[in-house]
């Protein structure tokens, strides 16, 4: 047929045209198809051998250079040697030369005391071995180490990674004594599942596929014979073909000059997408990334109770940097306070000094009383200008005032009311405040406008609207405008608004007065200074505002939102902790006010929005209206993540639960946090699982299934009177009332001390307060663990760490370990077994003894079961450590069998498996 017969043809599709036409003419017969495929196959095989030839040739050339280089090295050593060491005697060289000299020497080999074989058989020719060295050079004996397998130190348990599993794998065990290799597999489970390994299509397969279909067309028949040829399923072949075609198109498409534009993938993601990896990699229990114990892609549990936003203390209110909103606001306020007051530039200075006075007075007092005083100060300073404003916007104020008095559900209302009460006499102030709100609303409109600007089209109506609002604004603060304009001469209107915005924002900020912020403001020393700053700030503001909408990327917005959730509306903390390097405090502050207003405007109710807008400026961070929305967002996200990653998990859950309920006497059950959003009921996974709810559960603290920790005051939590100790748990500073740890040297402050000189002694695993353990040659067998310093009874010595593996895995591994007669398996709970074979710590070498000086105990530490080794009696320094492995009586190896078969209670419940495991 038409296929290219030349085997060495390059794969540049030389037969395109002729083939295409042919395939159109006739419907291909089976014979035709197979012949086409066969010829393609042959071609591919030929190509393959050519390519191998070429690669080997290339490699050969390369290697030749390498070996020549190496050979120079070898020769170099010779010359170097002869130059430098003329005098010294190299015995190897000497013997070499001696040997050549005495080639004709005696014929026998060498005689040795031991197993020397006297005769050297010379088979052919006249050559013979020459005895040169009669004597043996003795190598002094070096003491060998007790055998061990190289292991990695673990300071905490790790869950086994998938690739370490031996389940389902054929294992060969080499028996050193028998000198034979045994295949270790149990026939029932060892269905050598050929694993339906999804082979990727290699280049040549693609080629055959493409060419064959090109030649004979796409039909079931063709697919079938192709599938046969490639030993795949027709469906697979077809799918691959489609992929190939798409790829081809894509390649062509890109050739046509469709330039894909590349963008920074990280910054263009929104926070949720960026957080996806965080959610997957960050362990919320251990507070580390890539946790080896709990693994990646854990179920996410969001506590039903939201933490209240971080409340900041007064001393935090120093401006956080040159771009702190406080610094900016402070200077801004001067300008803005002065602007509405005075139409003329000359008059500006008077209120400026006034403002300075205000600051000084603010600086002095602190606490709640300051708030009032501050406010009165402010209102006083504002009163004069308020008159002016209220006159100019008389008609507006009336109805707005009404709205203020209408009852509103938001907490800001009461506050407002309270304030009104305080400042009864100052009705002008209220008016001003209302005015400010109004202005804010206008600004909101501007905001939405500028949004549309960003998105592209600028509608004429928009412009009108904006100019209208602008006018309104201008009316309201008529006097200020002259001033502003004088400052921003030559700037476009669009630039102007942001300035108004910030002014608005300061306005609205002004009446509420957030005292905390102002109190520590440094007093302004000279009005000149202020002026300079003003201008500076003004410029900055303009620039920043200009870029405001555009420059806030999705991720930054997302981060801000999180920041508000964490810190409340504290832009200093948000900028420092979350948007460091991305946004300044001032920018954040602006954006916050800005977006909140926008939001409240969208909410519809004008009055509500006004007041809400007000409350937003309350820096105590009460997030009244917004919270509902945010919560729902979380719910949405949580749902999504779970669906993607954890469906399989929940499926497996039930089977595990079943097993557990069948085995009631199992001592420890693995804890998995539940995700109950209300107090745990019958559906709670913890309850079903038979574990307590822990601090990692989603359920509220009031949940009845929660372990509530202890309230011990004097027992030091070391007796069974402590509920934690009695339940084989360590105390948890997050849960127990009096169990705490101080950090560092105490300069960071210590928690309230309730007991007298109380120190919890039941947190040693958590705090890793362990004894120094030494590794050495055991007096009993192999390696042993020794104690460096002497300890008292019941002292915690250290943790037995290892890999967490499933019981099934442990059964499988145990088969080999038992053969080797050294097992490091340790039953942990119903789900996991600790294997310290390749990962662990020195305590894995502690030997078994029926009369030990230590004991092991499984303890729940922060939701995880861990094995602690404790002193059973007083142990002096340098003593070897032993504990009872508590092997199940029928499984125990001979050396661990007790003479008086005293099966402990705990051992009965252990799963019946064919291996020896330590049991605590």
């Amino acid at each position: 047929m038409a296929s290219d017969p030349s085997p060495s043809a390059s794969r540049s599709e030389p037969h395109d045209d002729s083939l295409m036409t042919k395939s159109l003419e006739t419907t291909p017969t089976l014979k035709h198809i197979s012949s086409v495929i066969d010829s393609l196959k042959k071609q591919v095989a030929a190509d393959r051998s050519v390519s191998i030839q070429k690669r080997i040739e290339d490699n050969k050339q390369k290697l030749l250079g390498v070996t020549n280089h190496l050979s120079k090295f070898s020769n170099g050593r010779k010359s170097c040697w002869t130059n430098n060491n003329d005098n010294s005697v190299d015995l190897l060289t000497k013997r070499q030369n001696d040997a050549v000299d005495m080639t004709t020497g005696d014929k026998d080999g060498y005689s040795s005391q031991e197993d020397a074989h006297g005769s050297t058989a010379v088979l052919q020719g006249s050559s013979m071995a020459v005895k040169n060295a009669d004597r043996f050079i003795k190598l002094a004996e070096a003491k060998r180490l007790p055998p061990y397998t190289t292991w990695i130190f673990l300071d905490r348990n790790q869950r086994m990674t998938e690739d370490q599993s031996v389940v389902g794998r054929r294992r060969i065990y080499y028996d050193q004594n028998g000198g034979e290799a045994l295949i270790c597999s149990d026939s029932e489970e060892e269905v050598i599942d050929d694993e339906e390994e999804k082979r990727e299509f290699v280049e040549f397969e693609d080629y055959i596929l493409r060419m064959a279909i090109k030649e004979v067309g796409l039909s079931d028949q063709v697919l079938e014979s192709l599938a046969q040829c490639l030993s795949r399923s027709p469906r697979e072949v077809k799918a691959r073909y489609e992929i190939l075609m798409n790829e081809e198109k894509a390649v062509e498409g890109s050739k046509n000059g469709d330039e894909a534009h590349y963008v920074n993938p990280f910054l263009d993601k929104d926070l949720e997408a960026a957080l996806d990896s965080f959610d997957n990699l960050f362990c919320r229990r251990c507070l580390v990334f890539d946790c080896r114990l709990h693994g990646c892609s854990q179920d996410l549990f969001f506590p039903a109770e939201k933490q209240s936003p971080w409340s900041h203390v007064d001393e935090e209110n120093v401006p956080c940097g040159p771009h702190c909103y406080q610094a900016v606001l402070k200077s801004d306020r001067t300008t803005i306070v002065s602007f509405p007051l005075n139409g003329d530039v000359e008059e500006k200075f008077a209120p400026l000094s006034d403002g300075a006075g205000t600051w000084i007075s603010r600086k002095m007092p602190s606490g709640p009383s300051a708030r009032r005083r501050l406010k009165s100060c402010q209102s006083e300073s504002a009163s004069s200008n308020a008159k002016n404003i209220s006159e100019s916007s008389d008609s507006d104020i009336g109805p707005r005032q009404d709205t203020t008095s209408t009852p509103l559900p938001s907490p800001s209302k009461t506050k407002l009311a309270g304030k009104c009460g305080i400042h009864k006499r100052n009705s002008k102030r209220v008016a001003e405040r209302v005015l400010a709100c109004m202005q804010k609303r206008q600004k909101k409109m501007v905001a939405s406008d500028s949004d549309s600007i960003v998105s592209g089209g600028l509608l004429p109506s928009d412009i009108k609207l904006r100019s209208n609002s602008h006018k309104e604004n201008a009316d309201a603060t008529s006097s200020s405008h002259k001033n502003v304009k004088s400052l921003i001469v030559g700037r476009s209107r669009r630039k102007e608004w942001p300035i108004q915005d910030c002014r608005n924002l300061v306005h609205s900020e002004h009446p509420d007065g957030s005292p905390n912020k102002m109190i520590t403001d440094p007093p302004m020393t000279s009005s000149d200074d202020t002026m300079r700053k003003d201008e500076c700030v003004d410029d900055n503001t303009c620039k920043q505002e200009l870029s405001d909408d555009k420059s806030w990327k999705a991720i930054e917005k997302g981060l801000l939102e999180k920041g508000v959730e964490i810190f409340g509306r504290n832009s200093c903390l948000i900028s420092r902790n979350l948007l460091n390097g991305l946004k300044t405090c001032w920018e954040i502050f602006q954006y916050m006010t800005y977006s909140e207003n926008k939001l409240s405007c969208q909410a519809g109710d004008a009055a509500n929005s006004l007041l809400e807008g007000f409350s937003k400026f309350d820096f105590n961070g009460s997030m009244s209206g917004n919270e509902v929305r945010r919560r729902s967002r979380f719910l949405r996200r949580r749902g999504r993540v779970r669906r993607l990653k954890y469906t399989w998990k929940s499926a497996a859950y039930h089977s595990i639960r079943k097993r557990i309920t069948e085995r009631k006497d199992q001592p420890c059950r693995q804890y998995n946090p539940c995700n109950c959003q209300t107090a745990c009921g019958k559906q709670c996974s913890c309850l079903l699982n038979g574990t307590c709810c822990e601090k990692y559960c989603g359920c509220p603290k009031s949940c009845k299934n929660r372990f509530r920790g202890c309230h011990c005051a004097k027992s030091q939590c070391r007796s069974r009177q402590c509920p934690c100790f009695a339940a084989d748990r360590e105390c948890d500073p997050d849960v127990c009332r009096n169990c705490w740890v101080s950090c560092g040297d105490g300069t960071l402050g210590v928690p309230n001390q309730r007991g007298d000189n109380y120190e919890c002694r039941n947190m040693k695993l958590l705090l890793k307060q362990q004894q120094r353990v030494l590794l050495g040659r055991s007096d009993v067998s192999g390696w042993g663990a020794f104690l460096k310093n002497s300890v008292g009874k019941h002292e915690y010595l250290g943790e037995y760490t290892g890999e967490l593996i499933s019981h099934r895995e442990a059964d499988k591994r145990g088969k080999i370990y038992d053969r080797e007669n050294s097992s490091f398996l340790f039953n942990l709970n119903d789900q996991f077994v600790l294997d310290a074979y390749r990962k662990g710590d020195k305590l894995k070498f502690a030997n078994h003894s029926p009369d030990p000086n230590c004991y092991a105990k499984v303890i729940m530490v922060a939701g995880d079961h861990r094995v602690g080794i404790f002193a059973k009696e007083r142990i002096s320094a340098g003593e070897e450590l032993f504990y009872d492995y508590r092997y199940e009586p029928d499984r125990a190896p001979a050396w661990a069998r007790k003479p008086e078969a005293s099966g402990s209670k705990r051992e009965e419940g252990a799963p019946s498996s064919g291996r020896a495991k330590k049991v605590a």
Partner: protein, 370 residues
């Protein structure tokens, strides 16, 4: 093993000898009764290209090949521990070029013998179990690497006696490591294989400062901050049984299992994800009756040919770098019936040595074509 896809088939060499070269037995010597596990020529120093070492039982013996098939015993060392059974030997030297013989075995202790003074230079204690192979870095012959039953591969500096790196841990071998080899030109790279059926390629690039530090270390060797290299850069499942020998052939790897063949393959790594990658099996060199483990092959200095013994005492000599592979010669002798554990090819491939289970060393010399 997965089926090989069309277009990825390896080229398999034909067992018909090409008669390019012929070898004949020129000597046979019985060293002792205990099996000999390793034989190796000195490629490190051109003065000693005709010197080779063998190990077996508790003995290390240094020989010299002379013209005409003669073999001289130059030095003979015996470990005072009669239970020692050496499995492997390699040539190395200190930074001054003093020749060292490095041997290891069942005791897990690496014996570094100074051949110029015939004294033990150092004994490296550290491996937790038997040592299965020791290789020397050709570019820096005071670096050696050892493969052990304790599932680790360790890098040592014989000059200062320091254990620099341990290749083991989370991504390490899961059973005895049987063989290890330095890359001929990429000084950072080693390959190891073993009883977990895998071949692993490791890189010590990130740890190279420790290697350099080891040369200038003056404190006690035990105080050196030995590092664990836990993750290989490549893991290959080429074989489905014990892999008992692997060698670099340029950037390709030659490895063998118990499947009566040596396999030449190319590791194709994925740049982004270390540890992953694909294996492209290029060629196969059949070796009949080679189905027991611990049979190692060897190459001449320029990697033109490889020689491997089999269970029945025959040696197959393959031309390595031709495609398809050509069998240079098949060496057999009526009296050679014992399994040949390892072979050694001389610098130019003109001499082939085989050491056998029965404690004999056989010398084969190439017959000139004329």
């Amino acid at each position: 093993m997965a089926k090989i896809a069309i277009g990825s088939e390896p080229v398999v060499g034909s067992l018909t000898p090409s008669k390019k070269k012929d070898y004949r037995v020129t000597n046979k010597l019985q060293e002792g009764k205990r099996p000999l596990y390793a034989v190796v020529f000195n490629f490190i120093d051109s003065r000693y290209f005709n010197v080779f070492a063998t190990v077996g039982g508790n003995r290390v013996t240094v020989y010299q090949c002379l013209e005409g098939g003669a073999i001289d015993v130059l030095q003979s060392y015996v470990d005072e521990d009669k239970d020692e059974s050496f499995y492997t030997v390699s040539w190395a030297c200190n930074t001054d070029g003093i020749p060292f013989v490095v041997a290891g075995g069942i005791n897990g202790i690496i014996r570094v013998i100074d051949a110029s003074t015939e004294k033990i230079h150092k004994s490296f204690v550290g491996h937790g179990d038997s040592i299965n192979e020791i290789r020397t870095q050709p570019l820096k012959p005071s670096l050696i690497v050892s493969a052990s039953k304790d599932e680790s591969v360790r890098l040592w500096n014989v000059h200062t006696g320091i254990c620099i790196l341990i290749f083991s841990g989370a991504g390490g071998h899961r059973n005895e490591v049987l063989s290890v080899d330095f890359h001929p030109s990429d000084i950072y790279r080693i390959t190891s294989c073993g009883m977990d059926n895998t071949v692993k390629i490791w890189s010590m690039k990130e740890f190279w400062t420790y290697v350099e530090k080891s040369f200038t270390w003056t404190d006690l060797p035990s105080k050196f901050p030995t590092k664990y290299v836990q993750f290989p850069v490549f893991i290959a499942s080429v074989h489905s049984n014990y892999v008992d020998c692997n060698r670099w052939l340029g950037d390709f790897i030659l490895s063998k299992s118990v499947d009566n063949e040596i396999v030449l393959w190319e590791p194709k790594m994925k740049e982004q994800s270390p540890g992953e990658g694909t294996v492209d099996i290029l060629q196969k060199y059949p070796v009949p009756e080679c189905d027991i483990w611990f049979i190692k092959f060897s190459c001449d200095f320029h990697y033109n040919a490889t020689a491997i013994g089999n269970r029945e005492g025959k040696i197959y000599v393959w031309e390595l770098q031709s495609s398809p592979p050509a069998l240079i010669a098949k060496l057999s002798h009526a009296q050679s019936k014992s399994p040949i554990r390892q072979t050694a090819m001389s610098f130019d491939g003109s001499i082939i040595l085989g050491c056998c289970e029965d404690g004999t060393v056989w010398r084969w010399d190439a017959i000139s074509a004329s």
